[in-house]
């Protein structure tokens, strides 16, 4: 229990200090772009009503979820195929490097040309494409880096291709897949916002831009805070899932390090 309290204390300590600094630092601010934190927090409940959460936050999160989900499925599937086949790897490596080097936000206007500015499709495609590369490349490395003795073991017990995939290849690559997915998730959050900046009337990013354009500056700040909170929430959920799925990996590493 004391350990839990200690951990919570550590986790909340720095945010508390930062908030306090913000609170007092901005307390007497008359700069319209830099309103006191008190004003921002007072605007929060009236800005983020249930209606707005349903109308703006949920659609954004849904698009993020769908886009990220597509990226995971595609990235793991393609990554596994490329990781297992030297031929596919030789064919796809230059192309992968090319696409990886393109900053995902650049794709927003291009995708919008094909998939439309206002609908869900363009935004989901943007998020999925941006999230795809880290997952794909990490999956390739994870599959390639699989312990050869495990492969020999699977072969000598002649596991079927399906069992090898499900019980050997994917679990073996899972630490790398998760590392890629974690990177992708933060890219996804960024793209979720960016994809709404250009042409959207609903959504978290769109709401923030609208506040800014109508000089509702405290409201704009509340939007930024909501984004930050969503980031923390997503990271926590991801961590929980990862700890469950990679419990063996964490345990093994601790023992190897002699902790």
């Amino acid at each position: 229990m004391t350990r839990f309290l200690k951990a919570t204390g550590y986790a909340l300590g720095l945010p508390a200090i930062l908030l306090t600094a913000w609170w007092f630092g901005s307390a007497n601010s008359t700069n319209p772009f830099w309103p006191p934190l008190q004003t921002i927090l007072e605007t929060f409940p009236t800005t983020w009503t249930w209606d707005r959460i349903v109308g703006d936050v949920f659609p954004s999160l849904a698009r993020l979820g769908i886009g990220f989900g597509i990226a995971v499925v595609l990235g793991v599937a393609l990554g596994t195929a490329i990781g297992l086949s030297p031929t596919l790897r030789a064919l796809s490596e230059p192309v992968l490097e090319f696409f990886r080097a393109i900053p995902p936000p650049v794709l927003v206007p291009i995708i919008a040309l094909f998939a439309g500015y206002t609908g869900w499709l363009g935004k989901i495609v943007t998020i999925a494409l941006g999230c795809l590369w880290p997952i794909l490349l990490n999956t390739v490395e994870g599959v390639r880096g699989l312990e050869p003795v495990l492969g020999d073991t699977a072969k000598s017990y002649h596991l079927s291709p399906w069992r090898r995939l499900v019980f050997v290849i994917l679990p073996g690559a899972s630490p790398r897949i998760f590392a890629g997915a974690r990177q992708s998730l933060s890219i996804g959050v960024i793209l979720m916002v960016i994809s709404e900046l250009f042409g959207a009337n609903r959504g978290l990013g769109a709401a923030i831009v609208q506040f800014q354009r109508s000089f509702a500056i405290p409201q704009m700040w509340t939007g930024v805070i909501v984004l930050g909170l969503i980031g923390v929430l997503l990271a926590t959920v991801f961590k929980i899932v990862e700890n469950r799925m990679l419990a063996w990996y964490v345990g093994q590493r601790q023992i190897e390090r002699g902790v």
């Binding site: 297992l84 072969k155 002649h158 069992r163």
Partner: protein, 297 residues
């Protein structure tokens, strides 16, 4: 792993009729590594010997004698340049059904994301054995190796010796016709090693399985084997097929202090020393190869 190697093991009918008491037969086995852009490496020049059903045969050789190449070829993990390996009358062209391998790297041959039980159970699932029977087989295998308590633990929670016991349990639960062991105890401490050696002798006697045990340790080879096959340096040929006529009941203390054990040990040691110096049966200075080729059972 490439996609092509994802295909599971196959065997083809051997052209020659195999005698039923020979479990594993190596016929004119030769292996040359031929990687494009690199000089050819002749690993195995000529090996020709058989292992009778229920025999425990050890293979020793100086380091770099192609022991691992030989084992991987027998296991169907490596293609031969010429010759053939015949298991139960069928030529090995991929990992065969009736073979289980215990690798040297115990820590890396067990699936760390599975519990001990799941590790042993997976090959049985593949065999299509029903759940209740699988459970019984796993329990029996764990009991044989003395690991009943550890069934729900993960391999990395166990000591090295215990991990290798899990690998052995997985192999015997599979009920292979031939059990291959590739320097399985090279990485464990001396005391654990002695225990594991006795475990192998016990399993061999209890289960009647045919065992081919590759090691670099001369004492271990003589202590364990009914026969010790001594390999030359590379390119590998057979130095000598030494028959170990020690009593069937062996234990670490009395067997190792038996004068006959000492003689055999000395003999194998001498062979290895000669092999290291490059003295080989097929070399011009040595006696003709035919003189030292093994007589098949």
């Amino acid at each position: 792993m490439s996609i092509t190697t994802l295909l599971s093991g196959r065997t083809a009918k051997a052209p020659a009729a195999a005698t039923t008491d020979v479990a594993l037969d190596l016929r004119n086995v030769q292996k040359t590594y031929d990687t494009p852009g690199r000089p050819q490496v002749e690993a195995i020049r000529h090996l020709d010997f058989g292992i009778r059903r229920g025999e425990l045969v050890c293979v020793v050789g100086p380091s770099g004698a192609g022991k691992t190449t030989l084992l991987r070829s027998i296991a169907g993990l490596l293609e031969l340049t010429s010759g053939e390996v015949v298991l139960d009358g069928e030529v090995v062209v991929g990992p065969p059904e009736g073979m289980a391998v215990v690798f040297q790297e115990y820590g890396r041959s067990l699936f760390p994301w599975m519990t001990v039980r799941q590790n042993i159970e997976l090959p049985l699932k593949e065999k299509g054995i029903a759940k209740a029977e699988r459970r019984a087989k796993v329990d029996r295998a764990l009991e044989e190796v003395g690991l009943t308590e550890a069934s729900e633990q993960h391999p990395w929670q166990l000591s090295g010796g215990m991990q290798q016991r899990v690998a052995i349990a997985r192999a015997i639960a599979f009920q292979p016709s031939v059990l291959l062991m590739d320097e399985p105890f090279a990485a464990v401490d001396a005391q654990t090693r002695a225990e594991l050696e006795d475990l192998v002798r016990k399993l061999w006697k209890d289960l009647g399985v045919t065992v081919l045990f590759v090691t670099h340790d001369i004492d271990e080879a003589v202590y364990l084997g009914e026969r010790v096959i001594v390999l030359s340096n590379r390119p590998t040929v057979l130095m000598e097929d030494v028959r170990v006529n020690l009593p069937a009941d062996r234990d670490q203390l009395t067997t190792r202090s038996d004068p006959h054990f000492g003689e055999l040990r000395g003999h194998v040691y001498e062979l290895i020393q000669r092999a290291k110096r490059g003295d080989r049966p097929d070399a011009p200075a040595a006696p003709p190869a035919a003189a030292s080729s093994p007589e098949e059972a």
